[in-house]
């Protein structure tokens, strides 16, 4: 009997190895066993350096976003659905129907393949819900410690229907600001999961694709001026950007802000302000006051918009700031954050 004592390399592994990024068989195996089965579609399967697809005439929207969230799994989602929903929502907020996404993965050596599989599966699920296809991708592996488990970049394109014009400079005096749901949920969920703070909330991240609801809104309401998802920087950061770009003052009404008790409570304990906390499944809609009721009726039909409320209005005062009418009837300036929110000691 012929035997060989020649040591053979291990091909089966339960975690990401540097070899998975080498461009050889291991890379191919990673792609064919994890990415392809999940994302399978004819455009992806062109097996090319990129993806070729037909285009319509008209206007397209194009956006990109990178995801580095820690922890990668959290109540209500993971870095995978976050990465899909984030770019889908950015496109939807341009007024576009999102069509195709690309996904770039930077994997840390040692990442369990079961984690990667779970994340890719949840990207697939999020893409299906949003009705988009992942048509191209890239994988790189870096040494342990050179990134934190995995980072994902997604970019995407979508088609903007003919009569849709969403831009901050369309904001008009007396427009109203609608918020599609509870404020601060994602950020507080991540923080509670990240800091091991020893208290539990019933909060789950609000990460969800908003393009179906936005499409419903744009079909039914003629004159939507601005759509923005208040992710990093929170509601306050986003409204400040709009106020500056539009050259208008935005006045929030504290009593109408939909901040869940769990977010308020956690923010009190952590010394944070919910208006600056990140959201992932929220959209701020600015439109003429006359359209507000109709818009709310449309949004309430979708699970992601069932709690939509008017939170403020626009005023052409010559100031480009965000103010808040407090519950006592006086006014506070809601400024943009200078850096990151630092928890208070007391």
């Amino acid at each position: 009997m012929i035997t060989t004592n020649c040591p053979l390399p291990f091909n089966d592994t339960d975690c990401v190895l540097m070899a998975h990024g080498g461009g050889g068989r291991m890379t191919h195996k990673l792609i064919s066993s994890i990415f392809y089965p999940a994302f399978r579609n004819p455009l992806l399967e062109q097996d090319h350096d990129g993806c070729v697809f037909p285009v319509e005439t008209g206007r397209m929207a194009y956006s990109t976003d990178s995801f580095v969230v820690d922890p990668i799994f959290f109540p209500g989602g993971d870095i995978g659905d976050l990465a899909v929903n984030g770019t889908v929502n950015d496109l939807a907020c341009c007024g576009a129907h999102p069509l195709y996404l690309t996904a770039g993965f930077i994997l840390e050596e040692g990442l369990p393949l079961s984690d990667l599989t779970r994340i890719v599966q949840s990207m697939k699920k999020a893409a299906d819900r949003a009705g988009v296809q992942i048509v191209a991708g890239d994988t790189k592996v870096v040494e342990r410690g050179k990134c934190d488990k995995l980072f994902i970049n997604t970019s995407g394109i979508g088609v903007v229907p003919k009569d849709i014009h969403i831009a901050p400079n369309r904001v008009k005096d007396n427009d109203v600001v609608i918020c599609s749901g509870p404020i601060g949920v994602h950020g507080i969920t991540i923080l509670s999961a990240r800091e091991s703070l020893g208290f539990e909330t019933n909060l789950k991240s609000d990460t969800i694709s908003l393009n179906n609801m936005i499409s419903g809104l744009l079909t039914n309401i003629e004159d939507v001026h601005v759509l923005r998802d208040p992710t990093r920087g929170g509601v306050s950061g986003t409204l400040n950007e709009i106020a500056q770009a539009a050259g208008m003052e935005i006045i929030l009404d504290e009593a109408s802000l939909p901040i869940p008790d769990a977010v308020r409570g956690a923010s009190e304990i952590l010394g944070l302000d919910p208006l600056y906390v990140a959201n992932e499944g929220l959209v701020l809609v600015i439109l003429p006051a006359a359209e507000a009721e109709k818009a709310l009726t449309v949004m309430h039909r979708y699970p992601e918009g069932k709690d939509a409320v008017i939170i403020g209005r626009v005023s052409d005062t010559g100031n480009t700031i965000v103010k808040m009418k407090t519950i006592y009837g006086n006014y506070l300036i809601i400024d943009m954050l200078s850096g990151e929110q630092l928890p208070r000691i007391c």
Binding site: L197, R264, G265, G271, Y328, N330, L332, S338, L342, P343
Partner: protein, 359 residues
Amino acid sequence: MKYVDEYRNKEQVQSLVRAIRKIVTHPWHIMEICGGQTHSIARYRLEEMLPEKVKLLHGPGCPVCVTPIEIIDQALELAKRPDVILASFGDMMRVPGSREDLMQVKAHGADVRMMYSPLDAVELAGTEPDKEIVFFAIGFETTAPVHMMALKEAQRRGLTNFSLLTSLFTVPPAIEAILSDPECKVNGFLTAGHVCAVTGNKEYYRLAEKYKTPMVVTGFEPVDLLYGIYRCLLQLETGTYTVENTYKRAVPENGNPAARNLINEILEPCDQEWRGIGIIPNSGLQIRQTFDRYSSRTKFNFHPDKKDIVSECIAGKIMRGTKQTTDCPFFGTRCTPEHPFGAPMVSTEGVCAAYYKYR
């Protein structure tokens, strides 16, 4: 939200404002001691609800703001050592030392961790036995017991790689320093409810009597603050001066003896420098010699690279109540939260940052 909303209740706030307006006949200056109270006053714009004659002055009760620059430099020096992990509360991260802050040294490779509790630093000491874990233990009588609890826990676990870089202050000597300043404008004090929850109210009777000044133990929500202001004004208008506890839901007359025992067991009073104010006798707490193996100052040799600090910051005068934020020519122009001249522009407990944010 229970235990919060009832103390932010609009009708209660309005009725207290009416009651205050009814009793005020003279101009008065009232100082709230605690940075948490300053933050609430700015956040809820309580000052503009008060009659013109009542002015609030904002005291030195923000530990981030009064920690001397030398101690911040010590923290920075320790953070830069390769064998040290420096853990700190969040709002200490951006307070400027003489040349840089903790965020900057972190970006250059120092291992600086933001924590909510010193007990997390004890945990870290257990899991990182080859590193020295230094917790930047700042605070007043409120926070000191928590730091001491961490020290005790490190002792119980036999951890030798855990120490505290302390910057601990006590309130009554600061009140006495303010009241004995010839320029003092303060007619009455709202004492810091959470400090009294530990210390009890005893020391304040002596101060009220000696300086003939009302001392009202006050909470942190709008209703608490306005009620404290109302009771303080009532004393001022009737010419009385005593200690009144308007925050009984948190402050028993005798405070928290267990927390106090812990402080007394491990810490002893010392003369302490307050940033912007100077040295106030017996206003600090330092680790006793019997526990000095847990003191970063004993454990490490510092090489302070002392710089001449030219500060245009008038925070000290503001915290003593002799100047107001609006008196500072740099407020909101050259001194902003992005480019703070002094610590009160950094911490949200700091008077300048609170005013800037909610101006």
